[in-house]
Symmetry: C2
Subunit: 478 residues, 2 copies
């Protein structure tokens, strides 16, 4: 029997900073390849939880998901017991010394600070919500929707009620994924909701014509839109509680609750202070194996930038799917395996009330900026055979390269059963298919699931028909 | 102004035999490229309708679709008026003389026979239901579900009622797509339904383990199964009406209605009599441009065989999606364009009650027969995030080549929102992706639409993990 003392001396130690998707995926993947006698794993998480679904928080706020703990995929105790990962929650890493391979940790419960050495370090510090320097932004009643604690705070505010008459008025600043999903949640709880956004259409990862379809859809919901406008000030009452949002155009929107949905930026302060190189997007630069440019330091998740598979340029797109995969890649490599992250297309989906929204690849603007001459076509159809009950409208847009017909991007706005079709386009674009090749491929059909020509297939055909048209003859975005 | 007489002498004539998906797609595509002064188009259809959704007939029988005419995509009058296609319904082509380029036509209303010459001929005679030589098969109350007339006959039988007590008992012979869909329709109309099939599991285009999941799902429906058995005789009463189905195992299943759901075979009698070459599957042999081996004769739809994109071997798979595309290819080429049919994967979907079923590519057995050494993995998961309401179970199976990991086939059995995922796998397989490449590709995630690792993605990972295992170490189908 080997004495523990001896093993301590020879086994490597992996330290992970951040106990959510990327960090715990890295820890788990490394553990899969190396047992606790070979590799010691310590994961520091400043919050109380590990591996929770940030994407589920709006649904918890909206009472669609009843229990907070339902959002937790795996608890610290489970990581400890099943995988011998020493998860330390409420533990903030305050500094990294890459020369001596040490991190400084602060126990947020006891206030104690202590160092830990590492052989391999994974930085998975995630992202943080954008907080513009608006007057009043630190007032009571202003929330982000980023952590479970944020979710709990919003729920408490909802439970406390808004106006004396009950219910309440909320303003959501920002019409991106989190803004729309949270607006739906608040409306579902009986609150009056207005979304303010500086763009003329929501979801700026969509082309404006597709964004306009989202606007049209939202008109059938209880959610109000104040677009092409921006929050100028969050007005607070004497007690420091939010009472309204004033906009640049002069609107004053009374509110007891303000949600910040302005997107996220990579949380890189710790890495930057440690001298770990950032890339042109401001996120941590990593190679395909998720190595930073500093020996022994890896990074994964919302804090890193990735290569876009079409442009081959670095982009910062914060999505849980990428975080999981990147974490796994880092862990595989740390554990002695070989694994590479293949890059991103920015495939994403959401819904607001009954409107499903999805996108993949480049938008028209992004494609033009990347140097492509583009054609695009959109098609209005139905999610099922025209005669089949339960049908909902769907619009599919495809963006392709003029001349070659190579598909560059796809966007979908529609009713139930629309969004998941984006993955069909994502896989096609991932494989450099042309619109004609995609049109020709063998896809399924049955009346309950699609028209005989699925909307994505018709959109491809319509796009193909424009591919060889001369730019001067038209055939641009429609 | 050019006299019509002159034009008649110089313009080409396209004759189409069969006025459904393939035939009318060919006629429309040719017309798109050549106007009526260049190309005269005559389409003969023996039934009264054109371009109807055969796939919708079970839903019409089941009263899910209320109106017969809802199933008709375009009427003969619309083809005549909008596209100058001379559609002649109730007109049976009885013979083709490829030497003199003439067809013999019989007007089924007047009984008159007459010839028509052609420059180009498209044979789109479709398929016909398999009718085994069972005693009693020609009795009253025995129906196929193939044409709108069949649908009307079944509806009339249902409306007339079955047993004196009302409602009725039906036996469906054959547990393929049409059998399952019609069983659902009959059960929905309040009939007791038993499906008889000689295989131990339904849907023999699925692997047996996936078929077993369909069986388990059907156990929660009112539909009874008599599997691993086969109809031996349709028992008729003194008036010649069906009274029961007797099976090989000795069961006697009382019934007032029998549905034949034994699949289809290509309707090639006319082509064969004209000396047009058939291929090894018994369907008409065509090249990629849908040319038969006889000058001036094209063929498309259920009557032709196609190349399977994985095996490159001819297969006969009768699907409306292929018929539409093949017809369009033939018409493009006849109209002076260039178009090629890319081949098939056999991607198909259906549902029976709440069970969605889909498949693409090769089954395990088909892959082995094609010479592949296969690995496969199946995954049980949910269609939405585990915590999200409205979740249903889904099982995804992926079949891949050992060693390379190239994906060869995919199968899905699950609840609502399962089936359409097959197209994600179909596009991946179409592009020769390996399981690892597919796992790595950027797919969408949002809690209402999928778990953070979609079931198709997990199935790919699990398949990949087996790809490099030695055959002797296991890792075969599970």
């Amino acid at each position: 029997m080997r004495a523990r003392q001896q093993i301590e001396g020879t086994r490597r130690r992996l330290v992970v900073i951040g106990g959510d998707a990327a960090g715990m995926s890295a820890a788990s993947a490394a553990r899969r390849l190396q047992g606790p006698f070979e590799l010691e794993i310590i994961a520091f998480e400043r919050g109380p939880d590990t591996s929770y679904s940030a994407c589920g928080i709006p649904y918890w706020i909206g009472d669609i998901v009843g229990e907070r703990d339902a959002l937790i995929a795996r608890t610290p105790a489970e990581f400890r017991e099943r995988q011998h990962i020493d998860v330390r929650t409420r533990s903030l890493v305050t500094a990294v010394d890459t020369a001596s391979r040490q991190v400084q940790v602060k126990d947020l419960d006891t206030g104690q600070a202590y160092p830990e050495r590492y052989d391999e370090l994974v930085i998975a510090t995630g992202s943080e919500p954008v907080r513009p320097p608006l007057p009043g932004i630190d007032g009571d009643g202003v929330f982000s929707v980023h952590t479970l604690a944020d979710g709990a705070a919003v729920r408490a505010a909802l439970d406390a009620g808004g106006s004396p008459a009950g219910g309440g008025r909320a303003v959501v600043i920002g019409a991106g994924y989190v803004g729309l999903e949270t607006a739906e949640a608040l409306a579902g709880r009986g609150w009056s909701v207005t979304i303010v956004d500086q763009s003329p259409t929501p979801m700026t990862t969509l082309d404006p014509d597709m964004g306009a379809r989202v606007v049209a859809g939202i008109e059938d919901t209880p959610i109000a839109l104040a677009l092409d406008d921006a929050a100028r000030e969050i007005v607070l009452d004497a007690a420091g509680h939010v009472s309204a949002v004033a906009t640049k155009s002069g609107r004053v929107l009374p509110a007891e609750l303000v949600i910040l949905g302005l997107g996220v930026r990579p949380a890189v302060a710790l890495a930057e202070a440690a001298g770990i190189a950032l890339g042109p997007t401001g996120a941590i630069a990593v190679d395909r194996r998720m190595r930073t440019r500093t020996e022994g330091v890896w990074a994964a998740g919302d804090c890193v930038e990735s290569l876009h598979v079409i442009t081959n340029r670095p982009v910062h797109i914060a999505l849980g799917t990428h975080a999981n995969k990147q974490g796994r890649v880092a862990g595989d490599n740390i554990g002695g395996g070989y694994s590479a992250f293949a890059g991103v297309l920015g495939t994403a989906a959401t819904k607001v009330c009954q409107i499903e929204i999805a996108r993949t690849g480049l938008s028209t603007q992004e494609a033009i900026e990347a140097g492509f001459d583009v054609v695009s076509a959109s098609v209005d159809s139905t999610t099922r055979a025209g005669y089949f009950p339960g049908n909902t409208p769907i619009c599919v847009k495809i963006i392709a390269e003029r001349g070659t017909g190579r598909m560059l991007g796809g966007q979908i706005v529609g009713g139930a059963q629309s969004a998941k079709r984006i993955d069909i386009l994502a896989i096609a674009i991932w494989n450099d298919m042309t619109a004609l090749e995609f049109f020709s491929a063998d896809q399924s059909y049955a009346p309950p699931f699609s028209p005989v020509w699925d909307p994505v297939v018709i959109a491809a055909r319509k796009t193909h028909d424009l591919v060889h048209q001369d730019a001067t003859r038209g055939g641009g975005p429609d």
